[in-house]
Symmetry: D2
Subunit: 337 residues, 4 copies
């Protein structure tokens, strides 16, 4: 059960409401986000919401039978649109494209990529500065200093920055230099990190776990929302299966299912989702057709020299063709399907 | 290594060739299909094909490094097109749509479905008469008699029949009443059945195993080809994973990969691939966008009364809209991507 | 619901019973095995079995809520013991060991193996004559002729033969030369084959499917029982997962669960279950500790020269040590746990 | 390649060595643990270690072809034994048993459990104070205060404490109140947390990821070692598969494989590994038979009232019987196998 508190609810009314809920043996969680205040009540299935509906200080009450509550579409029918400023929105009519290298490797690379994005009218640049790597002896990213450089070039050109955050202490360090925090597949159930990201007013792109279920993805998103941040973007990036012909199994079933179950925008990562350069465009197009709100994709001005994931990064020229086709496809869908 | 024998190779030339191969310690397999004769030679990787290239009776020689040979695109660059007659082709420019109920349940149902297909210009009707069911106490299909009825109505209306064959002895019994034999996921590695289907001149639609790899699917197809039947259609229908929000994980990565590795046409089954009626259309459209040559889909004039799979069968009216959109999408792709 | 019919039930009583069931809207399946006659009734959960309990011709009635019925322990509390004659039993107190090569390769090999089994007091020899292979160009077994030789040597030495049957037509051909039919993982849901094996009076060892669930294994066993054969042995042989450090994931959880859910004996195949020779003994011992009634294991007098699965076959000397340890472990368990 | 530096290596010798390695184009990582100093060099496969073998300041050089280096058995043949003090060791001849509730729920529960452990001569108590939970609205543990109480009771009774750490900032807060840090399955690739745990001198029990591979588990252990902590315990706790008859698939194949590939001790968690109380003992015994150095198991004085995982927690009386049988089994193995 989700109770929307009135903007002008008095402390006295709030106390009365909480007391009433306690009396009814309903566990209450106060959720205060950048937009408004809610109470999430965990009630039994046969609870009659009219019992409390007439209390003052309440705007609305919704029954939500899912285990996740705030991220469910059961109470919020309209799509959540995330506004990054400068007319950049995610979840809106326009397809969102986030492109850039796996890792930020240097100023030259940043400049090259920014130039490529400007030419293609791409508004969001991806690039890792903290890299989760299975071996401690491999490249783990250039860290906070290069992030500042990355952000400087992007903001100077009206481009938004998305980059991965890996631990609680990095959030504060990074916050002035990111427009979207990315949570990687390996941190999809790092609940302490999710808690902190719920306490900042920056959008969070949350990747599905390596073998995470759709329910787990939504529950992790719920952590962020319950801590106070409504600006959440879900990301399907492929799951681990037995198949060895490609890197991960991109689960496009997840797109219509997530759009059905949740009001949050859904982005697809075809680069990790198949892991083979020549097939990335096809899977990106398929993702758009499955209803994704956008694509996050690895591109590199010189993939052969990339410090990581070069084999799945698109050449800039390839990518330009892909962006064009993705937009055409979205337009086709809007007009015809 | 694949050796194409000349149409007019003499027995003497053939013997000389086989002797030469034996001398070179190459294991030879004679493959005689409805179209031509080949020898599949299993040679070491560093074998120099020029060693035998000048023997007489040979049209061409190709090195194929895959474990599967005849179904590989490494020797046959052009797509295989399967001609069912009456201008019905699979793997051609036009999208193939196969639609019909999970099970053939009676004459009335057949008539209803045929009518629906005619109205929508669908040329291939699906429908099971032998049903693989995990419990022996459930409905297992109405068998050969209803197949005859099914075929009678379809052929009278210019519609081709595709239906599942489950065991060797059924092949002969069914052959006059089917246009395409379907091999189900559970029989994907029933090698004796594949052997027999390689000896008939009817197309075979081969489904990927429940947790079958792409390599295994192609190896199973190789069985059919090696026994003499080149008319093979590959079918992606979802794999088993841990995800419980839907029935199977439709693996659209498999489509570009299969099209890349093999010259055979690829069909996608969105009905089993997601198993939820309201999402079937979305996954069918995504499958087309991923490069599938066609779709096989469950429709029913009255899904609530279906003897099996009613929950994933489309209503006829829903399906009509879907066919239209699938064709529009294919047209869009041809003209724009 | 399972109804045990009296041995001396009259046709009239049977008709009355079936009529009564039909009247009660219960779907009835007559199951006649080598031991007795049953009716499996598919009733709603709240059916009161006393409604029919007083009809004549009935010995007993059991409610079974599982989807599988005859193989459930819910009606038969005692373990099924399968008697192969000559004091060889499976599911009894003594641990069953089945050993032999992957494929029967020749008379010399048969003699070597028989000698090894005699020295170790092993009563059941395994060995394939029809081999399921993913490629049509690899060795597929020496067939029925070598089976006859295999059986001749074994029966002359009091050793029972277990070998894989792959298709319906082989059952009749093989029946005089096998003591246990083996159904491989790839045929675990070949329902037509299971039907036929239910109609013969020979034990069947049924392997779990490559990604088969425990429920599916029991449902496949139900097919055999429902067709009339109570002599079924379940076999855990590892499932397909993403792990690449070994061949299959041996699922020993399945052993206590199968023993809990079913009255049938459970055998474990550690050779396929891990696929690495040096670890086979450890997994065989663990399987015994998990409660398995026996082990089926690949041994070869010369694994380096084996036509298949040599890398996971034990040397005879290794195997002798293993047998001894398996028996000691079983004795330890009986006396101490 | 692993280079053991001499205890008395001079700074000059070290510089010369590093310079030589750089000259040879070998990437060097200095690893300083609580026991000694190493250099991990990432060299090409055909590097001849004699090239540097004669430099001064070096005790030994080992070639290690695995991706993980320090945790590999390729350079350290003997088992690592972890000494917790007070004669409590892990990886030694004696079986290690860690038992206790899922969550620490209060002083009464702690006292009850300590009493139970004392009666059964169990030296290590498990119990969570920070709980990873998929929903933000469920119980997440009583935190640092109850940990202090937990530790007070245990240390007063000579019992060691193992508890889960979930984030970097908790390490310092917890370090005086834990004897073993536990890293849960969801944090198995939380590389920042692993880094920090490598910098403290406390043993770390590292659980395999929910769908983590054996290679990934060892690579995560490598993080801890490479940061300076040699005291690592590996833990198999079941992987996620499609099977629904139990909670996770306990992968006992992993035990002999981990023991073969690494010198680190291996512990098995049968509680999460099967998730059904009545089968926990069987899987614990099987784990011991598979070669595990110990068991970590959930017990509760009143499972029906447990705040989490009650259904898989053993009653104290059940557990006492299990401990006895586990020890008997280990003794049987030592004397007979």
């Amino acid at each position: 059960m989700i109770i929307h508190l009135s903007k002008d609810i008095t402390e006295k009314e709030k106390s009365a409401l909480l007391a009433k809920l306690q009396e009814l043996n309903i566990k209450s969680n106060l959720v205060s986000t950048q937009f408004r205040n809610y109470i999430v009540g965990i009630a039994s299935d046969d609870f009659d919401i009219r019992t409390i509906g007439n209390l003052s200080g309440i705007d609305d009450i919704h029954r939500v039978s899912d285990n996740y509550k705030m991220v469910s579409r059961k109470w919020k029918v309209n799509n959540t649109i995330i506004d990054l400023g400068d007319h950049v929105k995610i979840g809106d009519k326009e397809l969102s494209i986030m492109a850039g290298p796996c890792s930020i490797e240097g100023e030259k690379q940043i400049e090259n990529t920014v130039q490529h994005l400007l030419e293609n009218n791409i508004k969001i640049m991806r690039g890792g500065v903290f890299k989760p790597r299975s071996s401690p002896y491999t490249f783990r990213g250039y860290g906070i200093d290069i992030l500042k450089l990355f952000y400087k070039h992007c903001s100077a050109n009206g481009i938004k920055v998305i980059t991965e955050v890996m631990q609680v202490s990095q959030v504060e360090e990074m916050i002035d230099y990111v427009d979207i925090f990315q949570v990687g597949a390996r941190n999809s159930q790092n609940f302490n990190l999710l808690d902190i990201l719920g306490k900042v007013d920056k959008p969070v792109l949350l990747k599905r776990g390596i073998s995470g279920t759709i329910e787990e993805l939504l529950s992790s998103a719920e952590y962020i929302f319950a801590n106070g941040n409504e600006k959440i973007i879900l990301c399907e990036r492929g799951i681990r299966t037995f198949e060895r012909a490609y890197r991960n199994t991109l689960d496009l079933n997840a797109v219509p299912i997530l759009k059905d179950k949740s009001h949050l925008p859904v982005i697809v990562d075809p680069s990790h989702g198949i892991g083979i350069r020549k097939h990335v465009k096809t899977m990106a197009l398929s993702a758009v057709m499955s209803g994704a709100d956008g694509i996050i994709v690895e591109v590199h001005h010189n993939p052969e020299m990339a410090l990581s994931d070069g084999h799945q990064s698109l050449y800039h020229q390839q990518a330009s063709i892909m962006y064009e086709q993705l937009r055409l496809t979205r337009k086709f869908m809007t007009e015809n399907l």
